[in-house]
């Protein structure tokens, strides 16, 4: 089950998951998930509702402790660590459901994103970058997060995660509930992030978009990886086409 067999590059992975099992109570959500994310790439994890995609991200960011298996960041084992420790190691998680702070302003939301950074100059510079990426947030910086539209809240959730300046950005269903035109804009922004050298693990239901953006992809079905490889190849796999791309 070596994930390296299909690797296009020999570069050491930034993130490795090996045989990760996890669950909630009696539910066995992940049944041995292994995957790699190498520096600078966008990897997408696609699958249907309830396949366990969000659980994978929650295990990586420490919001859920895996039952077994190994998670390595830059070769260091991080499974079972507390979420705030993992965040300090350089993983930014824009969690499922955005989870912005609705009663805090856009500015305050972003400031909390930079909680681990103490230098005000660095925080200000990062905020400028976020505003360059999402000019709408700059317009609404004094507004409460809860008053933003769905698309703006999603921008805020991503912007807040970027304020951590993470080595690896975990995005959980960023397009959920967005109008199609906003979905396109959002994917354009992700492209910009990729061009800027960010490493992203993207969980998406919108497989068509995700597979066009990502370099590599994993397909998750009921807690197991069923397909993996370059995004273009995955997009051409008959099973995947039938199940996720609405093809024949």
């Amino acid at each position: 089950m070596s994930a390296l067999s299909q690797a296009a590059s020999n570069e050491a992975p930034l993130l490795e998951l090996r045989e990760v099992h996890a669950g909630y109570g009696h539910i066995h959500a992940l049944k041995g998930v292994s995957l790699d994310v190498r520096p600078g790439e966008i990897v997408t994890l696609i699958g249907s509702n309830g396949a366990g995609k969000s659980t994978v991200l929650r295990c990586i960011s420490g919001l859920l402790a895996p039952r077994s298996g190994v998670i390595r960041l830059r070769g260091m084992e991080i499974q079972g660590r507390q979420a705030h420790e993992v965040a300090a190691l350089g993983i930014g998680h824009a969690p499922e459901g955005r989870r912005i702070f609705p009663k805090l302003t856009v500015d305050e939301n972003l400031d909390i994103g930079a909680y681990l950074e103490r230098d005000p100059a660095v925080i200000a510079a990062r905020k400028q970058e976020v505003f360059m990426l999402f000019p709408r947030l700059a317009e609404r910086r004094r507004q409460d997060g809860g008053t933003l539209s769905g698309g703006e809240q999603q921008m805020l959730a991503i912007g807040r995660a970027l304020m951590q300046n993470p080595a690896l950005l975990l995005l959980d269903e960023p397009t959920l509930g967005l109008a199609p035109v906003l979905v396109d804009t959002l994917f354009d922004t992700l492209k910009l992030l990729h061009a800027a050298g960010k490493t992203i693990l993207l969980v998406e239901q919108n497989a068509w978009h995700a597979l066009r953006l990502a370099q590599r992809a994993y397909v998750l079905e009921t807690g197991r990886i069923t397909h993996q490889g370059s995004a273009a190849v995955i997009a051409d796999t008959p099973d995947v086409k039938r199940a996720y791309l609405g093809g024949d």
Binding site: G62, P102, G146
Partner: protein, 434 residues
């Protein structure tokens, strides 16, 4: 921004009621007017230096000038100040960090006993040395120790309690708060540390020769009772000043933001690198510290402490102040403390007296259809006795009509109930198992 004429109106009202209070220091109406002006200074927005100047004039000129003629005024305002500092402390825990603490009086008790034991002959019961510790530095040293002791107890109670959320945390803090009171009640055996239910008295007060000579120079002669009333008034004002300053700084700091983040969404906060346990402990300890210093001042002011002063009702009263004023709001906590104290020791009592006078004079209220002779009013009708009921009614009315308090937290501009679709859609079931 408030129009200038409103500020002018407040200034005029403050001056008018202030002069009236100095002229008639024992009547209730000018007093209520002065507090009304103080409330107004705290509640309107804008014109900060002007509002600040009015409030300072009322606190540093009007109230002392009237107070030297009527000790009770100092007593009332000092009481308000003690509660305001505690409300500010609890506001950090409940308002900012969102941790419902029903045992807050325990920290007040620890602060009070810290000075009571060493500032009286009590300490000689279990250790050798020359007690009470009189002389000027001791009270201040032990006030600082009270801060540390209360913060330590906060951390100690917090360590197990903060693993719990919401209602469970409330129940555990309620229980641990009672443990402190029960300990104070029973630690007279085998070694007599707290003197049990009899309490500790007399407790030393710091010497105030400087203040008495200052009063003498100003031609004020009221003896040590008045001197101490003025001293504790000024001391509490000074401590409140520090507490407010610390609160404001914290509110805008990383700490304040982390507290609010934990309150708003613990999962998101953790993903941002905020350690929930450490953040909550910091909030608990900071809140406890404010209560601790006021405990030490309280014990010196009262000359007496006993476990009876630190009941559950005490904790609930402080919580009521925070809720009434507006959770998470600094000005709200102060206003809540002033309003509740005023209601407790002034308004309800005055109203009771008023009814008693009507009863005695046989006043007849004639409304045409019905008429009522106050001489027939039962002796049982005495608002001062209904304190808790009136409290309850006020809190219920607040929850219905102004759920975020008199002065809502600036961050709570979002209308109640106007939560976003996304918040409702967030799956609550997918929480990390405890």
């Amino acid at each position: 921004m408030t129009p200038g004429w409103i500020i002018a109106l407040i200034a005029a009202a403050g001056a008018g009621f202030g002069l009236a209070l100095i002229a008639a220091p024992r009547s209730a109406w000018p007093l209520l007017g002065v507090f009304g002006a103080l409330f107004a200074c705290l509640s309107v927005r804008g014109w900060k230096p002007a509002r600040f100047a009015i409030a300072l004039a009322l606190l540093l000129v009007v109230i002392p000038a009237a107070g030297v003629q009527n000790n009770f005024l100092f007593e009332l305002v000092t009481q308000m100040g003690i509660f305001a500092a505690m409300a500010l402390g609890l506001n950090i825990v409940v308002g900012m960090a969102g941790l419902l603490d029903l045992g807050y009086a325990a920290f007040f008790a620890v602060g009070a006993y810290t000075w009571a034991i060493f500032g009286s002959a009590q300490a000689a019961q279990f250790m050798s040395g020359d007690f009470p510790l009189a002389g000027w530095p001791y009270f201040y040293i032990f006030s600082a120790l009270a801060v540390i002791a209360a913060a330590l107890l906060g951390t100690l109670i917090g360590l197990p309690a903060l693993r719990l959320r919401g209602d469970y945390l409330a129940i555990v803090t309620l229980g641990l708060g009672q443990v402190v009171r029960v300990l104070a009640n029973n630690l007279d055996q085998p070694v007599n540390i707290t003197n049990g239910p009899q309490g500790i008295t007399p407790i030393e007060r710091p010497p105030i020769g400087w203040l008495e000579s200052l009063m003498g120079a100003l031609g004020i002669d009221g003896g040590p009772a008045l001197g101490y009333a003025l001293f504790f008034y000024l001391l509490v004002l000074a401590v409140i000043g520090v507490v407010v300053l610390v609160n404001v700084r914290l509110d805008r700091s990383r700490f304040g933001r982390a507290w609010v983040a934990i309150r708003e969404d613990e999962i998101a906060a953790r993903a941002m690198g905020i350690s929930p346990t450490r953040t909550k402990l910091q909030a608990f300890a900071t809140g406890a510290a404010f209560s601790g210093v006021m405990g030490a001042i309280f014990s010196a002011k009262q000359l007496f402490v006993s476990p009876e002063s630190f009941t559950l009702l005490q904790s609930i009263t402080i919580l009521a102040m925070v809720i009434l004023g507006g959770m998470g709001s600094i000005r709200g906590a102060i206003i809540g403390a002033m309003a509740v104290t005023l209601l407790n020791i002034e308004v309800l009592k005055s109203f009771s007296d008023f009814l008693a006078r009507l009863r005695q004079t046989g006043f007849v209220l004639d409304l045409g259809v019905v008429s009522f002779n106050f001489a027939n009013l039962s002796d049982q009708v005495e608002p001062a006795k209904y304190e808790r009921m009136i409290f309850g009614i006020i809190l219920i009315l607040m929850m219905i009509f102004r759920p975020s308090g008199l002065i809502p937290e600036a961050r709570h501009r979002l209308e109640e109930g106007e939560q976003t679709e996304q918040m409702k859609a967030t799956p609550a079931g997918k929480r990390r198992a405890p």
